[in-house]
């Protein structure tokens, strides 16, 4: 059983849609509780109408992203003891996305941009053909490995200033995904993908702030992937292979 200590936590939680407001709740301060545990406590014991999203609770599904004390985080793996300031927590939906209700942000623009960046794998072979072997020590495989553990949590997207400023910017996760596919030689859509990420709102709009890298709970480095995409696109353009 989690142990209760005397103090309680003061938690303000965003309630309502885009023009909602914060409401404050008092929650028992338990050892080893996560921010998601706190949200769950409020829903189960204080207000069952609180909406939020989660699934795996172990950092795999990427559905529990929220803004905690001003910073985007995966809440199932964020310990309250690490982020509470003077026994206070402020929990809001992810930024840079429309709010559906309470802590649930609308991920649609995030995934639309994922597709716009050519984030879908386009096979070059049919299922009748043999599977193409890719060895773990191939340079392209190693390059892709750096970026493939993305869980689509949207934390980087919520923390990116360029996303906030530029409606058309595809964002760190989509571009990171595009970079991994550019390194997959089984994929047949490299040309249109490179054109998509080299257009307005693509990789060249990135300011290399590195917030995405700082916030990514999977310790990925979208900034690095984006820089390599810039280089790839620049080379292709100079060779005349790309017309923006």
């Amino acid at each position: 059983m989690p142990q209760a200590d005397n103090a309680s936590l003061t938690v303000s939680i965003w309630r309502g849609g885009q023009d909602g407001n914060f409401e404050t709740y008092s929650v028992p301060n338990r050892q080893n509780q996560t921010v998601l545990d706190v949200v769950t406590h409020v829903q189960r014991h204080i207000d069952p109408t609180l909406s939020y999203r989660f699934a795996c609770r172990v950092g795999m599904c990427g559905s529990c992203g929220m803004t905690v004390n001003g910073r985007p985080r995966w809440t199932c793996r964020t310990h309250v003891s690490k982020v509470a300031k003077d026994g206070k927590l402020q929990i809001a939906p992810l930024s840079n996305l429309p709010v559906i209700k309470d802590l649930a942000a609308d991920m649609q623009p995030f995934f639309e941009k994922w597709q716009k960046a050519g984030g879908v794998f386009e096979p070059s072979k049919s299922r009748a053909e043999p599977v193409e072997p890719i060895r773990p020590n191939e340079p392209q495989r190693i390059a892709a490995d750096e970026g493939i553990e993305c869980i689509n949590c949207g934390v980087c997207y919520a923390g990116c200033d360029t996303v906030r400023w530029n409606d058309d910017y595809l964002g760190p996760a989509a571009l990171n995904r595009a970079w991994t596919l550019m390194n997959d030689r089984r994929d047949s859509a490299q040309k249109p993908r490179l054109a998509a990420v080299a257009a307005n709102g693509g990789c060249h709009a990135c300011h290399t702030h590195q917030s995405c890298q700082e916030y990514c709970p999977q310790s990925l480095n979208p900034t690095g992937s984006i820089s390599l995409l810039k280089r790839l696109a620049t080379k292709a353009y100079l060779k005349g292979e790309l017309k923006p």
Binding site: W165, N166, D168, A199, G202, A205, K230, T234, Y237
Partner: protein, 109 residues
């Protein structure tokens, strides 16, 4: 920002970097040597080399600045790409005109 604008912006930056250094060195030299405006104009008048030097600088600066302004407009004002491109091209043309006037004044006037 797209790949074409990116290359132009980086390219003009790379071109301007040495030009700025030369420009600073020349200013330093002129003040150190106590050259008057008259002395300076005496050296620049009719000089194709100085016309090329500052002419190149003006063109590079106009391109570089207008691409930068285009990005700032897209990010900070509620304007879309087309309007930003229009406004920043206008600024680029203005910078070229002002710069050309200055170059003309020291070289040909």
């Amino acid at each position: 920002m797209n790949v074409r604008l990116y290359i132009w912006q980086r390219g003009t930056a790379a071109l301007m970097a040495p030009l700025v250094l030369i420009h600073l060195a020349v200013m330093f030299y002129a003040t150190r040597q106590g050259l008057t405006a008259h002395d300076i104009l005496g050296r620049t008048r009719g000089s194709i080399a100085w016309a090329m030097f500052y002419g190149t600088f003006v063109v590079a600066a106009a391109i570089h600045a207008s691409i930068g302004i285009r990005n700032i407009l897209v990010e900070w004002l509620p304007v879309r790409d087309r309007a930003a491109a229009f406004l920043s091209s206008g600024l680029g043309i203005l910078l070229i005109l002002l710069g050309a006037r200055a170059v003309f004044a020291v070289v040909f006037a």
